[in-house]
Symmetry: C5
Subunit: 324 residues, 5 copies
């Protein structure tokens, strides 16, 4: 496994934009995932029948109003109205929109059938201390079924002192999802004091562990952040404290750790277009199934966001795989 040897951190991509060389790390095909008929039906809906298709996922999340508060909408005042994101998802032909029960019950009915829904089932505000990070349930798998959703989303704070409660809460979500054939997307976020002491929440150690936890606990899809190398990596447990991986290799590593859980790359804070598109291509090369970009899209004007979305579709077409 070559990732464990040191490389130049800025290794250039070997493929130009538009080249059709096969991705170096293929995505796991649906037929290998041991899916129940219900999960397979809904995943095929997301991966092939909507959005860019070809086995990819382009997801628009709008849970920031709960997670960060309305502050995130000031950059683009239109985005305060949830219809903005729904319309962007509809016009931009996203694979799905991901949001909480309130935004689903009050707005989704106008887009039902056009925009697939991932119902986010837990969340919290940023107001109280994050020391015991835990996201309580805001919705249920039954809500998702009733609303016609194609998947549910759940945030696990890997490493939090509240990890016990989190695992137990997730267990009930996973079981209900199994009962109803509902795919489960796990937002796998390292968090908490112990994480901070072992290299931080963006360290390869933490993200790599989080990817594996999601796989072990039964995620069908896992949302991961790009690991970010820093001086604090020296505090990570061995062998992570000695690794020197390029960002792309580090991400490829975590995709491998996620195994047969399909990987969505997180967008994070808004960045420039070239950086963003580069990240998408690298992620797909690494074996990711798709991206989940929020602020990077809906903090733009509608026209700008749709232009960027078309570029994303173009990239995704390069990575299309037939269903199997």
């Amino acid at each position: 496994m070559s990732q464990t040897t040191a490389r130049s951190p800025n290794e250039p991509s070997t493929r130009g934009v538009g080249s059709r060389a096969p991705p170096r790390h293929p995505r796991p095909p649906l037929s290998r995932l041991g899916l129940s008929p219900g999960k397979r039906t809904r995943l095929k809906h997301l991966l092939y029948d909507h959005g860019p298709g070809g086995g990819t996922l382009l997801v628009l999340p709008i849970d920031q109003g709960l997670e960060h508060g309305p502050a995130d909408f000031f950059a683009n005042p239109d985005s305060l109205d949830p219809r903005y994101q729904y319309e962007l998802a509809q016009e931009g032909k996203f694979s799905a929109i991901a949001l909480h029960i309130g935004l689903a019950e009050k707005y989704f009915h106008e887009f039902a059938g056009d925009v697939p829904l991932i119902l986010k089932l837990n969340g919290k505000t940023t107001i109280p201390s994050d020391a015991q990070a835990f996201s309580p349930l805001t919705g249920t798998v039954e809500d998702a079924v009733r609303l016609g959703a194609d998947a549910v989303g759940y945030t696990i704070y890997v490493g939090s002192p509240a990890q016990d409660r989190d695992f137990l809460q997730f267990l009930e979500v996973r079981r209900a999802a199994e009962r109803f054939g509902m795919p489960v997307v796990v937002w796998a976020y390292p968090r908490g004091e112990a994480v901070a002491k072992k290299g931080g929440k963006e360290s390869l150690y933490a993200v790599d562990y989080a990817a594996r936890v999601a796989l072990e606990l039964g995620a069908d899809i896992v949302k991961l952040n790009y690991p970010a190398a820093s001086e604090k990596d020296a505090e990570s447990p061995a062998p992570y404290n000695a690794l020197r991986l390029s960002p792309n290799d580090a991400f490829r590593k975590v995709v491998e750790s996620a195994g047969r859980a399909l990987v969505l790359v997180s967008g994070g804070e808004k960045v420039g277009d070239p950086e963003l598109l580069n990240k998408v291509r690298s992620s797909m090369d690494a074996g990711a199934t798709g991206i989940i970009f929020g602020r990077n899209l809906w903090q733009r004007t509608s026209a700008d966001a749709l232009r960027l979305t078309r570029e994303l579709h173009a990239i995704f077409r390069e990575y299309a795989q037939a269903p199997a």
Copy 2:
């Protein structure tokens, strides 16, 4: 979104009392809210068949005996007997009276059919410390159904360290309400140490976040306080620490953040008539659906309270909308 730019904080209203200019911010019509038949039936009952009608809400709360203790009744000793509030709601043709199970079971039967009931489902006393603010359940949605209520009320302390438990408790209320087609009114109150450190519970930051939380968690109606600008706003997270909004613009901002959750304005402590009526008109201009005034009404003598109520009806008639 012009609210995000600084304005003169005392911007005068552009409409005089009694003028019939259309409200600047229309209220969301029932037909757009994705309501189940049960919720729509009961909301129509409250918004059109009782009270001022025309899609407005005039709610009389009497939960202060639990929340503040009997101290609130000294200003008007008659108000200690819950019949005082029931009779005021009946004679003043309120849209609903909002109270806890004990006052519902022992008194409502004499007013059933005349005064719609919003059964408040959780509450607490002021005696123990508020540091971990949390309101435990005092009643259930099933109680509300049995008693013929048209909605249930629930207090969420947004930002409290006990927010986890609160969200989970609310989840069960929301689900039961969904099952029975019962509208949910959320008292969205910022509270707790972290709120105090970020500008306080009356800051625009806190109230705006609370409004969005109510929307995201699935409130049908949200009760909000007017944000109050203060020096502590400088401690709010960006961009709130730099905003300079007039009270009316600040309130208009939080109504927008509440999205398709209908907004009730809280009365708070008793104030003078002109100030009160001004607040009502501004609120309705901002897109509020109605008001929930307790001490401002039942701390007055019966005659005085009814006189004021008639003035409120007159204002509400200006804001009537046909059902849609």
Copy 3:
């Protein structure tokens, strides 16, 4: 409401023993209480068919063995055997005996049909610290139904830091009682550090608040202690810190705060006969429905207790009301 003005603290009763002047504060008639048929049947059983009748209640509690330990029985060694209290309740024609499940299951069968039963559903020992006062369940409403009880009893520690759990536990009791038509008697006791800082558990502030909490949460009957004025009242919140009420006026105030929850006066520690009978008469004048005296009765010899009981019956006959 004259109670809020200062009076002489030792205002003498205006009626002599045996005078038949009507009580100044009538008790709420059953027909106004919004009772289900089951609750009404059982309450009529207690208020009219047993004990002194005429709408009054004379209750003998024997939960001190759990609440205080066997120490309370040393004053009258015969009282250690629960048959002593059962026989006293039977021979003294009490409205009911109130006790925990163990004493009900092992002894009640010998008195079934003669002595109505109030099954006390929660309790605790005095051994561990009272700082987080909370009484866990020891029995259930279903137990009460199975045993043929006519009511259940529940202790709420108003103001305790454990108030959250208490309210939630009470909710389940109240709901089960509703389901089975079983009246609920609430022992409403102010307790906890915050109460101590606001005037103490015997302050008018605390007792008055406790009375209202019981009403708001759905008590059918509330057991209250007489407020006791003290220097610590100055620490009570306004306006209580400035009130100067006679003991009788203070009690009349809390009876009003209890609204349509019928009031039982607590006996407390054993006192002399004149003081006791005076307290009973004052309580009934104030609108109480009856008394719940334990140690004041069963710490006496059988002959003495029965003599006193006859005097209590005589007083209660003065306050008889026809059912309505």
Copy 4:
């Protein structure tokens, strides 16, 4: 009640070994206990059809492997194998063997029908701190029914800071036992910091309180330790701090406090034969129904244990009562 007056602490027994004078304190007959048919059937099985009979109980406990660890078995290595205790119970004709689910499921089937089973339902290890003493469930009443047990056992730590949880857990056990007609044996152990400060867990104050708690909460049988007078009794609450009772009178006192809960005397650590037999006789004189001796029996060789058991049978025959 003469116990409350001081006596000589070493008052000699007035009856010699083998004398047939009637016990001074008769045991409560089954017919007075208000038992359901199921409980009465099973108790009669234990009290009359097995063991010494005549309404007595000779119980062999083997829960020390969980409560103390394997250390207790070093004194007699054969005792490490649970068959040792089963065979002792079988050959010694014990009324029952008391143990946890693991020892029941894996060994009881070979002795089923010969040795009645008391399934112990909760327990803990000695490893973590005892400060918040609480024994979680290890089995259920349903397990007991399935295995053909004649009773269940439950440890309550009276006075522990975890008393709340304990009472609630016991409530569920008692209710299930009621539902299935299964007698409940309560191990009533004073425990915790507050107990230590009030005279200690062996003080008369603590044991007396524990006996009453077991009665009030619904125990059918209660296992009690002999109170042990010590200097720390001065720290017990009044009147216990001033009592000077002989060991026998102290035990007689706690048997009275247990009321209609049948009393089993605990053996405690291994002691000499004369002391042990004396304790048994005194206990039965005091109204105990039987004994529960573990280490005092199975820490002996098989021959020695059986010889002692025959002596116990002989004593118990003196105390035989006909069923009633």
Copy 5:
């Protein structure tokens, strides 16, 4: 029981490799274990129909990705892909593979029918503090039934301050396993501050206690570590602080304490072949039923691991017992 006397700590084995002398401590036969038909069927499947057979168990665990993180896979990068372990279990003819729900749902279907499954039902990460060690559920017995597993695994942290919760969680697992006839394998791990103070988690005191706890709580199979003598044993409670047992005698002791719970020996960190094979032989001599070796096998290359596995099979054949 000779173990309780001191011996030379390095007592050599009296049998050479390949000798067919009977094991000194026979394993408990299935027919004596009081098993339900379902448990017996599944255990026979594991003990006789798969793996080395003859009543032995060779189990491959792959829960380290959750328990330790992906760090454990760096020694053999191929092992990061769970197929590596599945294929090793299949080609090496293991009795079972033990893993969590995510690895079962996504990979087991390709090996179903070939490799028996032990579904591990609880787990945690190493990230947060271990002070209150507790493994929350990650799967359920129903999951195991649905997937066709032949047993479930559960980790109990004996001695942890969270022992209460652990016992209660295990109770529910055991009950569900009883209901479905599913054998329960307990990972019995001493853990926590109190364990550390009493000789540590590898002390004979701690491991011996853990073995007995597993038996008492109802384990069908218990996974134990070899006790490791150290200076800290002096801090163990008597008589452990004075014991001087050879490693083999110490292990024989804990196998006896486990009684009729079948014993699996843990491999622990990777060690050399001679040491490993010696440990296996000693364990089987001591009465163990088999081994559960993870890192010692899958941290090797496939060829090396299979070669070692064949040696293990050869040893196990020496210890074959006919079913009874």
